[in-house]
Symmetry: C2
Subunit: 417 residues, 2 copies
């Protein structure tokens, strides 16, 4: 009960602050952001000290090394965080834009303006850079934020938040516009997800487990991000050299990220020729292959794929492979198993390309390119809050505008209906 | 269990049909819509017969007359339904528009296109015109729909759906793109709200009870519509003649609709002068007044308002009235109690107008006009799926575009990252 009351109090404070924040000009928000960046660098020793202790404790618990790496801060990483904030300062203000304007025959003037959401709830896992990132994107877009990070580096995150809150307060931004939920009890997530009165949108950033927990419990609207079961289909007409190059890139250039390929689909008419080539290249790159029956006939060295493989985001050097009859069968597989993040076709057949892009029901649909390009920076948006895999509000890489909603302002002279 | 399986089957069929529908050109969708309109008129006798029996049964249950009126169909109302469909035909196709296009330095061509959601779930109460309305808006925007209407006129709704399905099928639209859930068990709503695999968005259309039930249970994203606790604040500087005229209009021109005023806030400095005038006019118009203590001192003939009054959408000739210190107090009251639909200030003070429009956190914020104008047709959108009171995806009156999402199409020549 205490826990619940405490979170409600924080969310209420954030909501109240959001009313003030909505009236603060972007120049002041930018100035405060620059001060936050400077403060993080100036106080890096304090952050590093807290972080080193927490990382030590996690080490003792015996976490995997690649998990551990995400928790560790260094002077270089703190500088990157600060520079990230400075980049956000340089972006256009996403608020106050009028995107529709009309004067009706009765004289009513109607304007539609982009405005901040109010309070953005961000529930994330351990990485401390998300803390600085989320705060800067929210403040830039005129939103209060309430953050709940993972338990491993909770004190590191708290320290980052405290430094940023202090810099905000000194520069005309209410410090309560930034609230950090330090309670480790996982039930706190459920409490946050039901505070419709104070939190306007929840953005979970993390694995599929976190995201489905949030969706299950939330009555606050959710923007889902990041789960990536991405496919590449190599069509009969594909330029096979291109296909090979693109597939290797999509799988191996950074296997831990959401836009990496998890399943390769190959047209049956080229499978005998293409599969051995791609299998060899993948194995040479350290990739474990799991194929369907038809694959195993051609490449018996592959492991057998099970149903669960088609549903898995490996985030690792593992690839499931399936041979399909044609583009329709590829599309059907993708629409059944894809997380609707990014899927690609490699083809020289224009009709198949158009069909694939029309019918595959994913946020980003590629022809002849690696799925690895799905990214706010690669698309030219300058910053990214995440990659939405849902259809409401935002889909694909989300720029700052995704943190705003709209509002109709109607000016009259006493009109009645 | 049977019920659940049946609904799942319907939703799956609708999803499959949506893949086909997404490829059908707008000319064919329009032709099918015209055929649906004609078929409703041609078969009006069958509809009227079913409807008369159901209305008779409802009468026997002793429903209130204004409830009953919403269920009754007449030849004129069927003609209006058909004409409504014909109007939708004349609207621009909201799909296939490219709203962002860029060629990146690496040669990747990125296009963002508007595409149908896929399957739209509409859960509504009794009015049969919603059935034809929802189907036409969904088909026009390339979406399948799965409808669940109220129990009072379930057979009327089913008849309308059957006629429209047949006309669709004869004109190149899969009849399974239109699914009607005829199961009366209210648990079916919960089942629908959790079919994330097959339903892309749920739009509840009805009272606050229905909407909160959907929000509570849904894991499918929801667009909330229609709850209207609308306020008008009469500022110290208001032109009181204008204020009087606007308030009477906002309350009495159509009290049953969502954009009608439910609470009147009056600045304390003009209350002694303005309240008696507006109270008399309201009482003359048959409005029951419920005031706070300060109101009762000036107009002892008013009933005393209780806390629940500020939270109630009367949809009736009842008005709650409160005297407030200033524009800030008015904004605070509104941000606490408004359903974020439509709120107005009557003022001659530009600063107060700007502050009110900036800080009131509602979809439609008026200066010197009646809240009754919040409506797709009044805004010039030509059709309306509902009025969104939420901040994600759509806010305010929703035109056809609100039934679409977007998709990034990326064309390359073998680019890797």
């Amino acid at each position: 009960m205490f826990m619940k009351d405490h979170v409600i109090k924080q969310a209420r404070r954030a909501k109240e602050a959001s009313r003030v924040l909505a009236l603060i000009p972007v120049e002041i928000r930018n100035k405060a952001l620059l001060a936050m960046a400077d403060a993080l660098e100036a106080q890096q020793d304090e952050i590093l000290e807290v972080n080193a202790k927490e990382v030590e404790a996690v080490k003792e618990k015996g976490k995997r090394l690649n998990m551990l790496d995400r928790l560790i801060l260094t002077p270089k990483r703190i500088k990157d965080m600060a520079d990230g904030i400075r980049q956000v300062v340089n972006l256009d203000d996403p608020t106050s834009k009028i995107d529709f304007e009309v004067t009706r025959p009765n004289g009513l003037k109607i304007r539609r303006v982009r405005v901040p959401f109010g309070v953005v709830g961000i529930i994330y896992e351990s990485r401390p850079n998300v803390t600085a990132d989320a705060i800067s994107l929210c403040i830039k877009s005129g939103n209060s934020c309430i953050l709940r990070g993972g338990s491993d580096v909770v004190r590191t995150n708290k320290k980052i938040v405290d430094i940023m809150k202090a810099a905000a307060a000194e520069n005309g931004i209410p410090s309560t516009a930034i609230e950090f939920v330090g309670i480790l009890d996982r039930d706190v997530i459920v409490v946050m997800c039901r505070l419709r009165k104070f939190i306007d949108v929840i953005i979970p950033r993390g694995g599929a487990g976190l995201i489905s927990r949030v969706i299950e419990h939330s009555t606050v609207p959710v923007i889902e991000t990041g789960t990536g079961i991405c496919h590449t289909y190599v069509d009969k007409s594909a330029n096979q050299d291109m296909a090979l190059k693109v597939c290797i890139n999509a799988k191996t250039s950074r296997p831990s990220v959401c836009n990496a390929m998890e399943t390769l689909l190959i047209n049956k008419d080229i499978a005998e020729e293409f599969l051995p080539k791609v299998a060899k290249a993948m194995i040479d790159a350290g990739v474990e292959l799991r194929g369907d029956e038809a694959c195993l006939k051609i490449c018996p060295e592959m492991k057998a794929a099970e149903e669960i493989d088609w549903e898995t985001e490996y985030n690792d050097l593992i690839l499931s492979v399936k041979i399909v009859d044609d583009v329709d069968a590829a599309i059907e597989h993708i629409n059944q198993y894809s997380s609707a993040h990014s899927d690609a076709i490699i083809t020289e057949d224009k009709d198949n390309a158009v069909k694939f892009q029309s019918v595959v029901d994913s946020a980003n649909v590629y022809v002849n390119a690696s799925t690895r390009f799905t990214d706010g920076f690669e698309y030219g948006f300058g910053a990214e809050i995440g990659i939405s895999t849902q259809k409401l509000h935002a889909r694909g890489p989300m720029g700052l505008e995704a943190l705003t909603t709209m509002k109709y302002l109607i000016d009259g002279e006493g009109q009645i209906r």
